[in-house]
Amino acid sequence: MWLTTLLVFAVTGAAIFAPILRKRMERAAQLQQQSEEQARRELIQPVPMNPSDPRVKAELFWLSDADSSMLAPVVVELPLSSDPVLRSKQVLNTLLAGPVDVELRTLPPDAVLLAFYILADGTAIADFSEALATSIPSGIQSEQLAVDSMTHTLEANVPQVKRLKILIHGQEVETLAGHVDLTETFAVNADAGPSPATGPAAGKTGAFLVQPLTLSFSPVKLTGR
């Protein structure tokens, strides 16, 4: 009898407290997530400009005042580091901060540059927070202009960067916001980009493809990624 009563109490107690506990767990997890995001933001303070660095005339590419379907360089005097990684972070953060006229910005104001590296072959990897993808106006034009503003700005200020790979929150994503392909790199300094497959080259490629199929069964090479 005692045992039964005890069991009934235990079951009712569990039934009442389990959902409450679960809710608390969920809330705790959420809090943790928030604070992780916050910690990341705090860790990734925009690279401070060192006033002792020489002030140079940096060219930043935002939308053109005259034609918002194009980019135009704006000359800003900034103390830029001579280290290519620091220098890239400085110019990209300035680009993210936006021009005086906010209508001419190319990147969403809440996007954050989380990390930036340059590989030995000159490929730069820029990792942005999710806001870059979620806050940008969706469309071919807006997405391509966003990418172009980065590649043009890096090209004008950091000659060491040959091409740019954009990651979102550490991950490769298929598109920026549904249109522009982020699985490949973007050419930064023109001579280093993927060789253009222009009209005549396309013809050649076509002809190349009809050569006899001597199949060497080496692993199929994809696009060098």
Partner: protein
């Protein structure tokens, strides 16, 4: 021949050539072989007239530039237009004032463009007719299964001067290294870029006649949808969802449809010319 090796995008290839072509898909994976009487003969990028294979095969040199003797290339003439109303389903695309959704309006543009193209004698295939959202690859696959086709993806921007329309072609792609006769799925557009530019310029020209303030020539962008499409392919982007009244966009529908139909009709002879010269793989 289109082989779909597994569902990993990077393991999808377009197999080039009729006889003797094989797809090696890294790890042995179950693969679905899509065969239809049409695709067996080779659609889109996979199309190779047997004559040109023989010519190239014997000499090991590129196909001759002159028109190939023999039967006319009528079966491969441009006669299909694949229209792709972008977004749909859970993806509304660009969202504007007053609940305007890109996915709905692109359907409206596609319906009217279909009528205009059919009047010009083209057969039209749409990648979606209702509120679905096929993947980029699914949409490309519809175009890649056709022969003698062009692909037009329709978009409404969230930026740009209202009342203008821009045409885009895919940005340069790395050259196709296809010694084994295969074009990676990811680079399906590469051999068609030259033709895509011609088609883009023609359609843009027609659009600019209707919509003042639009550019004079097609522009380039790294468009995911075009990259995997093995046909002359363009994106048409209308500005914009940010309008006070949806009627402003509705008014543009007939003009866009007409410009697309006339642009594709003007492109048809260029497509035919590209066939014997080997510009089409």
């Amino acid at each position: 021949m289109l082989l779909d090796v597994g569902d990993s995008r990077r393991l999808r290839f377009l197999a080039i050539g009729g006889i003797g072509s094989l797809v090696v898909g890294g790890a042995a994976m179950a693969f679905a072989l899509e065969t239809s009487p049409q695709t067996q003969q080779g659609p889109g990028a996979g199309t190779l007239p047997p004559a040109s294979v023989a010519t190239a095969g014997q000499g090991g040199t590129p196909a001759p530039a002159g028109p190939a003797p023999g039967p006319p290339t009528a079966p491969r003439a441009l006669n299909v237009v694949v229209l792709d109303p972008a977004h749909g389903g859970t993806d509304p695309g660009a969202r504007g004032t007053g609940g305007i959704q890109e996915s709905e309006i692109t359907l409206e543009f596609a319906t009217r463009a279909r009528q205009a193209l059919e009047q010009q004698g083209f057969q039209v295939v749409e990648t979606r007719q209702g509120n679905e959202n096929p993947s980029f690859d699914d949409r490309s696959a519809i175009a890649n299964a056709q022969r003698g086709a062009v692909f037009i993806t329709l978009h409404i921007a969230s930026t740009g001067i209202p009342g203008t329309v821009r045409v885009y072609v895919n940005a340069d792609l790395p050259p196709v290294k296809a010694a084994n006769g295969l074009i990676p799925w990811d680079l399906a557009q590469a051999p068609f870029l030259g033709l895509s530019r011609k088609l883009g310029d023609l359609v843009q020209g027609m659009l600019t006649q209707h919509f003042k303030g639009s550019p004079d020539a097609a522009q380039t962008a790294a468009i995911r949808q075009l990259r995997t499409t093995a046909a002359p392919a363009i994106a048409v982007e209308v500005s914009s969802v940010v309008v006070n009244d949806r009627a402003e966009l509705d008014h543009m529908v007939p003009g866009v449809a007409d410009a697309i139909a006339r642009g594709v009709a003007a492109f048809k002879p260029l497509y035919a010319m590209a066939l014997p010269s080997g510009a089409l793989p």
